[in-house]
């Protein structure tokens, strides 16, 4: 049997102090382990795995450019992965259930020793695939980060010469006017370049309804729907005196009202 070359590791964390801490603890718990590289983000970690082919990668979960979960996905089965986190409850639960190695910052020396012990046992085997777990985790990390479900939540508009981000929750209606689309809030109006037909696709259909080829109205701002002299439905919105006509093809929206 050939003597195995010394095991190698890469440490990825966006904070240098944390990288140093893990390195120091590893030197203590596993003196034979050679730390061959440091990465400050997920992308660097993936590149280092590619060029240095370490046995083990320690991956912080929250990193710029590419987070630890995405990096683990990219690394796949090319290295044994140990996740490092300060606090990510759902990730920790998932690691526990999937028997994935992880360390909590700041890590207890016994915990580091136990992790090293397990790694030593596994080093001769192939790193395990965790595609399903990672896919689930990245989804949950996204979901935990905000209410975004891919809908447009902010509109970029030019107000008095400054580019302003207007949250869609403040917008009462969008209306096509010549080359632009007018955005109306309670306080001000602004012009954007995005046409109504693009907005329809990007906005949350539960938040805005199209009532006309040229008009999108905020659903929960609708105060009442009446009829004008020509017999067309007209929408009244809270927060503005402007009344917006409903074209016949959208009449069905207000059948119940």
């Amino acid at each position: 049997m050939n003597a195995r070359p010394a095991p190698t590791a890469v440490i990825a964390d966006d904070e240098r102090l944390m990288r140093e801490q893990i390195a120091a603890q590893l030197r203590e718990a596993w003196p034979q382990l050679v730390i061959v590289g440091d990465a400050a983000n997920g992308r660097e970690a993936v590149a280092l795995v590619q060029s240095l082919a370490p046995d083990v990668v320690f991956l912080d979960i929250r990193m710029p450019e590419m987070d630890g979960i995405a990096a683990a996905k990219a690394i796949g089965e090319r290295a044994h992965i140990v996740f490092v986190t300060a606090y990510d409850q759902y990730a920790i639960d998932a690691f526990e259930q999937g028997a994935v190695d992880y360390l909590l910052k700041p890590a207890e020396p016994e915990r580091v020793a136990r992790t090293c012990e397990r790694l030593r046992e596994r080093l001769d085997g192939k790193p395990r695939a965790m595609d399903a777990l990672l896919a689930e985790l990245s989804e949950r990390l996204q979901a935990g980060g905000g209410a975004s479900r891919g809908y447009l939540r902010w509109v970029q508009a030019s107000v008095a010469g400054v580019i302003r981000m207007i949250p869609t929750s403040e917008i009462l209606f969008f209306r096509a006017e010549d080359k632009y689309t007018r955005v109306q809030t309670k306080r001000f109006e602004a012009l954007i370049r995005k046409p109504i037909k693009e907005l329809v696709l990007e906005l949350d259909p539960a938040e805005f309804w199209q009532v006309h080829r040229a008009t999108l109205v905020r659903v929960d701002a609708v105060e009442q729907v009446s009829r004008n002299l020509r017999g067309n439905q007209v929408v009244h919105l809270r927060g503005t005196d402007e009344k917006l006509e409903v074209s016949r093809s959208f009449n069905h929206l207000f059948k119940q009202m």
């Binding site: 400050a40 910052k105 939540r153 902010w154 990007e202």
Partner: protein, 317 residues
């Protein structure tokens, strides 16, 4: 004998008489009969109050028929007449009771709504992020090994941060802009140690504005946002500038970063939505949060609130 006092199975039907054991044979039964009549009368009254008119009429007709058979229609007629009058009066009482109950319910509901709103406002206040806390403690732990003086300095920053961010602390007095700046400075000092060269920051707030009233934790949310969504995603980091000025009699406080800018579809709206909701709850239409993208890049968040000098201390600390 105690056994005398206890009703035996066979004696139960005879009620008071059996239990009285013949000690006061005349007074007790009289009392219990009177009591029974009173209870029955009130029961009848309550029944009248709730019974429907149709049912009452049916019962009245039935009573008239029975009285007719017994050939004593007059007492029955009187009783029915009395019942109708009682029903009218009792009905009014009942309606009054219902109205009172409804009013109580509505008052309870209003109280509940207020409580829910308060609870929600508290939840909306930025929380001490566990991720931040544990990461900071891990950094201090590492510095204790390698650079004790810096560890101590960072720990003091953490204490300063916790002092103003703890719920009990921040709910106590009317918060001033100065206190909120202190909180942000403590936070930024910690983050500067952790992010090293990736974070620079500067605060430019005139001394005179530090005593102005400013909602608690709001500025910190903007600073946290600037780091989390602006600078942290950027490998090389960037800088944060905090400033305050009076614009048209309003206090405008801004947090500007040189980060990656703003993703219209992305997350990061939650903290800002909370700030907006709190401003609305605290000031109605007299306050606002505006997010601009400066031509130089990054993001600038400005909170504008009515300018009020916080009562009490003129200076902070």
């Amino acid at each position: 004998m105690i056994s005398n006092e206890l009703p035996t199975p066979g004696s139960e039907a005879r009620g008071h008489d059996a239990r009285a054991g013949g000690a006061a044979p005349s007074a007790r039964p009289m009392h219990s009969i009177r009591h029974g009549i009173v209870v029955a009368a009130w029961g009848f009254f309550d029944w009248l109050a709730v019974v429907s008119w149709t049912k009452l009429v049916l019962v009245a007709v039935l009573a008239m028929v029975v009285a007719g058979i017994l050939q004593h229609p007059l007492p029955a007629l009187l009783l029915i007449l009395a019942s109708v009058i009682i029903k009218i009066v009792a009905g009014g009482k009942r309606r009054a009771e219902l109205t009172a109950a409804e009013a109580t319910r509505r008052a309870d509901l209003e109280q509940l709504e207020r409580t829910v709103l308060e609870a929600r406002m508290q939840a909306l206040q930025a929380q001490i992020e566990p991720h931040f806390l544990f990461n900071t403690l891990a950094s201090i732990d590492q510095l204790i090994q390698t650079d004790p003086p810096r560890a101590s300095k960072m720990q003091r920053s953490l204490i300063r941060y916790l002092r103003s961010a703890m719920p009990q602390m921040r709910d106590r007095a009317r918060p001033t802009l100065g206190q909120q700046i202190d909180l942000c400075t403590a936070f930024l000092d910690i983050m500067a140690v952790r992010m090293e060269g990736r974070l620079q920051s500067a605060v430019a707030v005139p001394e005179g504005l530090k005593s102005a009233a400013f909602p608690s934790m709001m500025l910190l949310t903007l600073v946290e946002n600037a780091i989390k969504h602006g600078l942290e995603p950027k490998a090389e980091g960037g800088r944060i500038d905090i400033g305050a000025e009076i614009v048209d009699g309003q206090l405008a406080v801004h947090v500007q970063d040189t980060g990656v800018g703003f993703a219209p579809m992305g997350e990061g709206g939650v903290g800002l939505a909370n700030v907006r909701e709190r401003l609305r709850a605290l000031y109605g239409d007299r306050a606002e949060l505006v997010i601009d993208l400066p031509p130089t890049g990054g993001t600038r968040a400005t909170v504008t609130v009515p300018y009020e000098v916080s009562a009490g201390r003129a200076t902070v600390q």
